[in-house]
Amino acid sequence: MTETVPSTNDPVVVTGLGATTPLGGDVATFWTNLLAGRSGVAKLTEEWAEPLAVRIGARMSVDPATVLPRVQARRLDRAEQAAIVAADQAWEDAGFKGTSEENGLDPARVAVVIGTGIGGVTSLMDQHDIILAKGPSKVSPLLIPMNMPNGPAAYVGLRVGARAGVHTPVSACASGAEAIAYGLDLIQLDRADIVVVGGTEACMHPLTISGFAQMRAMSTRNDEPERASRPYDKNRDGFVLGEGAGVLVLERLSHAQARGHQPYAVLGGAAMTADSHDIVQPDPEGSGQARAAKTAIERSGIAFSDVVHVNAHATSTPAGDMAEAYWIADLLGEQTIVSGTKSMTGHLLGAAGAIESIATVLSVQNDVIPPTINLDDAEDGLSVDVPREARKATVTAALNDSFGFGGHNAALLFHKL
């Protein structure tokens, strides 16, 4: 088998960004708050949260239902609402309005890849409450399109008029990053000219929270929500659940130039590997993760020494953070500037790789790296450079890592034009 090698003189570039997150309902607000080191984590005030072991979370700061027309919003699961809000922003940011056809694009050359970890689980649970309380004849006819994990991608596909294919990678917390990697493939395999990629997640519900909490995967720092997500800190005790969506628009540089649109950065390479080690525990050696990172960099043709920044997966779980930090130091050196976005946003599961790729793209474009907050007492052996405040640096190239339950590893390499 031969690898498809990216054409270095006509790379795939990022031409549009959109996000709705715990730190802001748009990319500019998200980025400002990320650089300022603000936390999006708060106490969950819903009555259902009271008996739970975990009573904190990072809700979207702008309810996506308030951004969309009322009737449209009521037909959609919250994860679908978030995906549409982020996709609309990214599509407009890329210079488009309306469907692909209305923009003079061939719909048969426009694709969508939007991942999610869990899909429309809150709609599923709401309707489960209804069937128990009122019977099967009261179940909503909209349940299936609200619940199906491919719903967000399909709705975005309808919105932009995408007929080259609409896809949904489901690989837990790597879903958003895998979506971006698949989008790169679609363009490099010449199956599409434009791909709308990203991830979405909105699964804040007592059942999902209890499921994660029973795994002992979540922080129970209920009295200090803003300090609960603390990657690399000695006192980290698990991740904090977040919600939101991130979407990027990908196309060839020549395609962007032909329509006079200035790209943010190049998506130089991507790689996906699997651990085949354990269903939920990361391989303590991190070898599958490192292999994904190394392959993504090699495919981009960028020198390892130019990869000055890693936007890390860093979920604030005791097991995961250090395995990743060790191989980053080995592969790229201890001078590597690493940031843990989840210290501020919480863990957006299937949307994490997407919003963190947006942050990575903006670091490459703006030569500034977001801080990692709550890192008061660094774990022994943490040898990479993790700034506590935003750091200016020439970011020639940067890597975004995402890993998911199931042993999925995805790495994306972004670099300057």
Partner: protein, 81 residues
């Protein structure tokens, strides 16, 4: 016993909630799908809401026969309890 006007007003309210149809657009001769842009899933929602509001049963085999607002008003008038 709801009057024809009350049934019409009730349907207009449901159509506004479910499918964003402006109440002034709702009149007996309008087709749900062709004039008011109500898709098949929303039509099921309209029927469910109408059953609740007017105390009628709209069986699956009846629903496709309700093509206009007037069809629905007549069905509700002759079947509600």
């Amino acid at each position: 016993m709801a009057s024809t006007e009350e049934i019409l007003a009730g349907l207009a309210e449901i159509l506004n909630e479910v499918a964003d149809v402006a109440p002034e657009d709702v009149s007996v001769e309008k087709s749900f799908t062709d004039d008011l842009d109500v898709d098949s899933l929303s039509m099921v929602e309209v029927a469910m809401a109408a059953e609740e509001k007017f105390g009628v049963k709209i069986p699956d085999e009846e629903l496709p026969k309700l093509k206009t607002v007037g069809d629905a008003v007549s069905y509700i008038e002759s079947n509600h309890s």
